[in-house]
Symmetry: C2
Subunit: 165 residues, 2 copies
Amino acid sequence: ESITVQGVTLKEDLAMVSLNAVPNTAGVAAKIFAEIARHHIMVDDIVQNIYDAGRFANLSFSVNAGEAAEARTVCERLMAELGIGGVEIDEGVSKVSAIGVGMRTHTGIASTMFEALARAEVNIENISTSEIVISCIVRREDGPRALRAIHGAFGLDLAPGRAGP
Amino acid sequence: ESITVQGVTLKEDLAMVSLNAVPNTAGVAAKIFAEIARHHIMVDDIVQNIYDAGRFANLSFSVNAGEAAEARTVCERLMAELGIGGVEIDEGVSKVSAIGVGMRTHTGIASTMFEALARAEVNIENISTSEIVISCIVRREDGPRALRAIHGAFGLDLAPGRAGP
Ligand SMILES: C[C@@H](O)[C@H](N)C(=O)O
Ligand SMILES: C[C@@H](O)[C@H](N)C(=O)O
């Protein structure tokens, strides 16, 4: 199919909450997000992988930077209750996203986007995709450089207000 | 904002490729997906989390079930070249997705979706989101039950052709 990248965005006011060694049993994610919802914490993206022959999951989610402290409190309480291995909060992250049309397969766009970041020496921390978006979490200080690199790789002009330092 | 779930979909012809203990250094994801692209393997979604104080990443991506064997060959070769800890291919998975409008915060929809899966005793393996989608990887045999449970939780009628056994 014909794939076009329509735009690239940078979201800077984020904190990443990472739960590791989460027991991989039905109902655990539901309990975590019910508690997050009860505290009215706004979640941006959620990324989960399972590992160790399916025994555990690494579950990360991003929140507005201003809600990091409350997210930490909620997750530390859940840690004890659910037997989660560890909770880390990283307040120094940003999210750079490539938005496309007709992205039913991500291979070409992912390859181009990741190579642009590699050439700019930007490390990719988390990756999340849907049919129209590929998002990468990077260090906040790398965000503007990442944005410019991806714009360049896809031949896009920088949108007004998005030209980083 | 006002959030509505417009639909729920089930994608069944998938295999999950999971790379664990991937060195978390710039350029690694680029090399992996350049090789995947070179073999014309179509990638559906990509999910990555970092762990162990940022030393490693767990990187998973889904491909069409028919491309699982080739993806395995490519990744095993990359494993040696890039120092990746392990490669696993799981051909028994499906992806269930809730598609919404105005999902700038996922908290409420995630909580409802995960609780529906929990009540149906469906284990959630991977999670990936974007502004308009929350996707969960589940065992293939759980897919139809997961689809019905999520439809019910959001008060949607099952779309024609989507009523599972
Ligand atoms: C780890 C968590 O997602 C768990 N597998 C669940 O289904 O709730
Ligand atoms: C693990 C991989 O994503 C690595 N961090 C990179 O930037 O390529």
